[in-house]
């Protein structure tokens, strides 16, 4: 009988009679690890955070804080996980724990195990060199008691040096990718193939199966809506789908590249994308969520789509019949409906590097800056010739319609016209014709419509001097105007 195996706090766990829909959080709490807490079951509070050994920059192993409420046990097959209970050795606290104790970073203590795991990741990250990255590192952990000041200070102190301990030693060793798996339990099945041929076969055998990678959205089916996902096929075992590579024209991003894996190459190759990633989900989500998942889920408020669409990204779709390419602006057919055919997967996204004659902006407005869902998000790219005339405009909005869409009338009004405030203001009023947004808990119709117009005007102001502005350390707004 096939079993699934992973290492928890340094000890091997072998399971062969457990539902594939059991989350790591449920398993922990029912197996004598009550330290890990459930605060929301949707990856929005971080109380359930644990550390997973994953591949970081340069495919080196890295400790990553992840939400255990969104991880089904089979996803861990072959991997190494640590929960809060495993960090201290005897009475000797881990530096992440010690830092919180000393600074009174816990009051009620309920969010604390999750905070500890985020700080644990902090300890072994060597790229926490600026203030905003600390906010980003911590934004996935809600604390209702402390007001965060002591937690931020703990993080800042821990970012300074990597502890010398068995966790840092482990990072010198090999990565621990998930192992191939075919696990069945009471009519449920979970496949994790490591070859495309096996994937096609599994997809044929189980056309009803859902494809899963990071699972940060799909898992909510189980954890929030209490609906089972009996057949799952994971793409995590397919190396050919993961990682980024430079091409002649730009960047190729494998579909199962996580958002945190994308950060480094985006920062150097596609700064516009890097800018959006700053306000994209929490660290824990970025450590699991994949580029392909964000696109294929086809949510109108997915934050990658507007930026990638503005950059004229092309999607590489793969099936056993071969490969085809679809421009991103033709990929979304309707609300949560894409151009993917049965038996087809998204393999990669190819993003051309924009020329120097393009002005670029990426914006996201939400109730809260970090870890929130957009009221409106936008990616904007306008090509201007030396005479100051608009050659091409790609104004892509999320949160304004059933899918991420371009503001085609507004774009048309700009093409061939001088790139001036008067022209832009006039064109911006056409966003009202391009979109008829909805009222919901994230913003009213008025708010969204006004933002659509204002973001374009703001984009004009922002890119007056520079084709793409860098965000300041702690910006007050998605628009950089001062």
């Amino acid at each position: 009988m096939p079993s699934l195996q992973f290492t928890l706090n340094g000890r091997l766990v072998v399971l062969d009679a457990i539902s594939t829909n059991t989350t790591l959080l449920q398993y922990l709490r029912s197996s004598g690890h009550p330290g890990t807490k459930e605060g929301c079951a949707e990856g929005d509070c971080g109380a359930c955070s644990v550390a997973l050994l994953d591949s970081g920059p340069g495919d080196r192993p890295a400790w990553r804080a992840v939400n255990s409420c969104l991880i089904f046990l089979p996803m861990l097959n072959g991997r190494e996980v640590w929960s809060v209970e495993g960090l201290a050795s005897g009475d000797q606290l881990h530096p992440a724990q010690q830092a919180l104790v000393q600074r009174l970073g816990s009051q009620c203590g309920y969010c604390t195990p999750g905070v500890v795991m985020s700080l644990f990741e902090t300890c072994y990250r060597q790229d926490l060199d600026v203030d905003w990255k600390v906010d980003d590192q911590l934004c996935g952990n809600l604390c209702r008691c402390t007001g965060y000041r002591p937690i931020r200070e703990a993080a800042l102190s821990l970012a300074e040096a990597v502890p010398k301990d068995h966790f840092s030693e482990r990072l010198q060793g090999p990565a621990a990718p998930c192992s191939p798996l075919h696990y069945d339990y009471q009519g449920q099945s979970y496949y994790c193939p490591n070859q495309l041929a096996d994937l096609w076969q599994a997809m044929k055998a189980h056309p009803e199966a859902r494809l899963i990678a990071g699972g940060t959205d799909l898992a909510l089916t189980v954890t929030k809506h209490f609906q089972p996902l009996p057949q799952l096929i994971s793409l995590e075992g397919l190396n050919c789908l993961r990682g980024t590579s430079k091409t002649d024209h730009g960047l190729r991003i494998g579909a199962t590249t996580t958002l945190s894996q994308l950060e480094a190459s985006a920062a150097t190759e596609l700064p516009l994308l890097a800018r959006m990633l700053r306000f994209f989900a929490s660290r824990q989500i970025k450590n699991r969520a994949t580029v392909g998942g964000n696109l294929c889920n086809a949510s109108p408020i997915g934050d990658l789509a507007p930026v990638l669409m503005a950059l004229n990204a092309e999607l590489v779709l793969l099936s056993d019949r071969g490969e085809r390419r679809v421009p991103l602006d033709r990929f979304f057919l309707d609300y949560r409906h894409t151009a993917l055919q049965p038996g087809e997967i998204l393999a990669a996204v190819e993003v051309p590097r924009p020329g120097t004659d393009w002005r670029l902006g990426a914006y996201k407005v939400s109730k809260r800056r970090e870890l929130d869902i957009s009221a409106v998000c936008a990616g904007m790219a306008v090509q201007i010739d030396p005479k100051g005339t608009v050659v091409e405009a790609r104004l892509c909005y999320g949160g304004m319609a059933a899918t991420t869409r371009r503001a085609t009338k507004t774009e048309e009004a700009l093409r061939g016209r001088p790139w001036t405030l008067t022209e832009v203001e006039q064109a911006a009023s056409l966003t009202a014709e391009d979109f008829a947004p909805i009222n919901d808990q994230r913003g009213s119709q008025w708010f969204r419509a006004t933002l659509a117009r204002n973001l374009l005007i703001g984009f004009f102001h922002e890119t007056r001097e520079q084709s793409l502005r860098k965000l300041p350390e702690r910006p007050s707004s998605t628009l950089v105007l001062s």
């Binding site: 807490k37 209702r144 800056r369 933002l451 005007i457 702690r474």
Partner: protein, 791 residues
């Protein structure tokens, strides 16, 4: 020996910190029940108001793993619970009055079976018209209380004479507690028909009492124990009770242990919030901005039951003055009854909702009169008699407002920064900054005077180690840390010799809720009183061991693990405790405390409801973007009065945490319902409490020095709630920034919460008016603000 540092009045770590960071600190749902433990789940009403025509669990009971399904008729005792008036059916009777009201209790082997069973329970409803807002309640004359009126002088006359008369409306939104640990309970059957109920509650005695009433048994058969809470903030003062009582009901019915735990969505939908308020006011000022008269009507949304709505409204009325003397006034308040979740206690308990109203009036007056926001507040502070009398007649003593005002304005560079900001704003088109000062005065005591009592039980073992029990509960605020420090200080022992026990009703009976910021004040005195009694006994024993006279025995001090004379000669604590046992002396003592001299006559609106007042002030600077409405708080300076702090590091944590929670209430936390009364914002994906990135990088918190408070434990002051209201300074800062987008004559309507959308709306309104004809800027009694549409 003797080298132990006295833990009082110095920084301390949280007593459970190591447990928190290692995951070893246990919360109710972390306790592993016996293997036959059942999981309780609740079937709740999908309608805001409906008549129940039919209820049947026949099919659900056939499902394997379902032990029982209980309805109101299955309750052996009383089905009505509630903290003051027992008006809340534990399980629905003929009608349901809110979405999320409990209808049936399901007891099953696990949560999944419970969910399946819930789908099989048949309830037939006939929908009835519902009231879903304060405005609808006012129209329908739907109230849960009679009006409460506090009045003084001749308001109408004074308003008529005022140089500036403001008429306005103001609304403040609700707030979900969003404690990280949702409501939970574990009920374990014991011998003699008894039950042990582990509950995440601020009020174990109420849980005990309600369980007993529901089950129709004596309170002596119920023990309620609280290990700790994962946050509460008022949300577990009364509303933990229902879920503990349901668990107890299930345990008694089945004879098996029952676990109850709400998931986040259930907790947010089923349990109540901070009360939203609607108010309308008339405020009269003289030309210098001194308030002459204030006439206010406030209405809170109490939801479908009374719960604590009446005292919450009282406290809102008691705090309509905030820090300011108002010569003539009429405050009228009433609780609206709606078909929404029953709103409840939340840090500040109505105080914030009252204070934001007068702050709104002061903002508008300052803007109208061209007086600086800090200055207009200074001119209105309570001061010497006759300007020291609160609206309800209590005379203020030891007013610290002027001192805090002066010190904070200097330490925060308020005036310089204000002018820098004004020049910054002149130089910017789309980015504007704002800065504002706001004081806080907050009354300390339960306003229901009899609640101001507390008990403790201190046990000394013959080896000189100590267990301390008190009636207060630990929800993160550091109460246990403070009580340990007080106990160790009194007995002169190292902290390692003193152990804090779980709060339990079989150790300290008939307690009040840990609420009203009173935890340390009340329980601290009780712990001290218990220790004082034990010390008297030990002093006698030590004196006889040392051969000291009765007079000399009085000089014996408890310090450094010793009982000794100032000369240093004496005995180790354990030697004395052992001797006490040999001499057949009791080493256990209870301590009891009640706050002296507080009273309030609600009918007359007069009395002395508070033992004393806490003071503080904050200066907040922020930046907004006029194209998106987004904002960021750039810097916050706080000076707060905690008296002579028991443990400064703990108090600083309360101040910072309170401020940030207040910031959430005033900015990003927005509760929204659909037209059927269904809460739309019931999880952190849609309800946004502040995250780490929302706090100012420059966050300066200081405690007022030399601030000893008379007649409070070790000169300290309560700290739980008052700092929450320091966040009101963000409102003024927003107004400053938003008004920089338009002409100074334009009246700004700014309710809370101030979301990005609210800011953008306000900015667009400020900008749109620029092209309009200038409003009459002359100040006279005829100029009034625009009144928005009546509710």
């Amino acid at each position: 020996m003797g080298n132990e540092i006295d833990p009082l009045h110095r920084d301390a770590e949280h007593e459970s910190a190591v447990g928190h960071v290692t995951g070893r600190a246990l919360y109710v749902d972390d306790y592993e029940g016996p293997s036959n433990t059942l999981t309780a789940s609740v079937l709740t009403s999908p309608h805001a108001r409906a008549r129940i025509l039919k209820r049947s669990a026949e099919q659900a009971l056939r499902l394997p793993g379902v032990a029982a399904v209980l309805f109101a008729a299955d309750i052996p005792g009383s089905n009505r619970i509630g903290p003051i008036i027992h008006d809340e059916p534990l399980l629905a009777e003929e009608q349901v009055f809110a979405i999320g009201q409990s209808v049936a209790l399901i007891l099953a082997d696990d949560a999944e079976t419970g969910r399946q069973a819930a789908r099989l329970i048949e309830i037939e409803y006939e929908e009835l018209p519902a009231i879903l807002s304060i405005a609808e309640a006012i129209r329908a004359d739907s109230f849960s209380t009679e009006p409460h009126i506090i009045a003084r002088g001749s308001v109408d006359e004074a308003l008529e004479k005022a140089a500036l008369l403001l008429e306005a409306e103001f609304t403040s939104g609700g707030q979900d507690h969003f404690y990280l640990e949702t409501q939970s309970a574990l009920a374990l059957p014991k011998e003699q028909g008894g039950l042990l109920v582990l509950s995440s509650t601020q009020h174990p005695s109420e849980v005990q009492a309600m369980c007993a009433e529901v089950l129709g048994i004596g309170r002596h058969l119920i023990t309620c124990e609280v290990p700790r809470m994962g946050g509460a903030f008022g949300g577990k003062e009364s509303q933990a009770t229902q879920y503990a009582a349901l668990a107890a009901l299930g345990a008694l019915h089945t004879g098996r242990p029952v676990r109850m735990w709400l998931n986040r969505d259930q907790d947010m939908i089923w349990t109540g919030n901070r009360h939203p308020f609607y108010s309308r006011y008339r405020a009269g000022f003289d030309r210098e901005g001194r308030i002459l008269a204030l006439d206010v009507e406030i209405y809170s949304d109490g939801g479908w039951t009374q719960d604590l709505s009446s005292p919450v409204l009282d406290r809102a009325l008691f705090h309509l003055d905030n820090a300011y003397f108002i010569p003539d006034l009429r405050f009228r308040g009433q609780v609206a009854r709606t078909n929404l979740a029953s709103n409840t206690a939340f840090r500040g308990f109505g105080g914030p909702q009252g204070m934001v109203v007068i702050e709104d009036a002061l903002h508008r007056a300052a803007e109208r009169l061209g007086v600086d926001g800090a200055e207009i507040r200074r001119r209105n502070y309570y001061a010497k008699a006759p300007r020291n009398r609160c609206p309800y007649g209590q005379e203020l003593k030891d007013i610290r407002l002027q001192r805090i005002h002066q010190e904070l304005l200097i330490s925060s560079d308020y005036e310089e920064r204000r002018s820098e900001i004004d020049s910054f704003n002149d130089s910017q088109t789309w980015i504007k900054r704002g800065i504002a000062f706001c004081p806080v005065k907050f009354g300390i005591s339960f306003t229901a005077s009899m609640l101001n009592q507390a008990g403790a039980l201190v046990l000394i073992y013959t080896d000189g180690t100590v267990q301390v029990n008190h009636g207060g509960t630990e929800m993160g605020q550091g109460l246990h840390t403070k009580m340990l420090a007080i106990c160790a200080h009194e007995l002169g022992l190292p902290l390692s010799a003193v152990r804090m026990m779980n709060t339990a009703t079989d150790k300290v009976p008939n307690t009040s809720a840990t609420a009203a910021s009173s935890g340390s004040d009340l329980n601290g005195q009780a712990v001290r009183n218990a220790c004082t009694e034990l010390k008297e006994r030990l002093r006698e024993v030590a004196a006889s061991m040392l051969g000291l006279s009765t007079t000399k025995a009085k000089d014996l001090q408890f310090s450094g693990g010793r009982i000794e004379l100032p000369s240093g000669s004496g005995l180790d604590f354990p030697a004395v405790t052992h001797q006490a046992w040999l001499e057949q002396r009791s080493l256990a003592a209870t301590g009891y405390y009640r706050t002296p001299d507080i009273h309030y006559d609600r009918a007359a609106g007069q009395g002395k409801p508070f033992h004393y007042f806490a003071y503080g002030a904050a200066v907040t600077e922020l930046e907004i973007n006029g194209l998106t409405g987004e904002s960021r708080v750039r810097r916050v300076d706080i000076l707060h009065d905690v008296g002579d702090s028991l443990l400064p590091s703990i108090d600083i944590g309360q101040i910072e945490g309170g401020f940030v929670q207040g910031l959430g209430w005033l900015t990003t936390e927005e509760l929204l319902w659909d037209g059927s009364g269904q809460l739309l914002t019931h999880s952190p994906s849609t309800y946004k409490i502040p995250a780490a990135g929302d706090i100012p990088a420059d966050f300066r918190v200081a405690l007022l020095r030399d601030a000893r408070q008379q007649e409070v434990i070790h000169g300290s002051k309560a700290v739980g709630e008052p700092p929450f209201m320091l966040a009101m300074s963000v409102v003024g800062a927003f107004r400053h920034a938003i008004r920089a987008f338009g002409s100074a004559d334009r009246e700004l309507e700014l309710n809370v919460p101030i979301t990005a959308e609210a800011v953008l709306r306000a900015v667009e309104e400020m900008r749109s008016i620029e092209s309009c004809p200038e409003a009459n800027s002359e100040v006279d009694s005829s100029s009034t603000t625009n009144v928005v549409a009546a509710p």
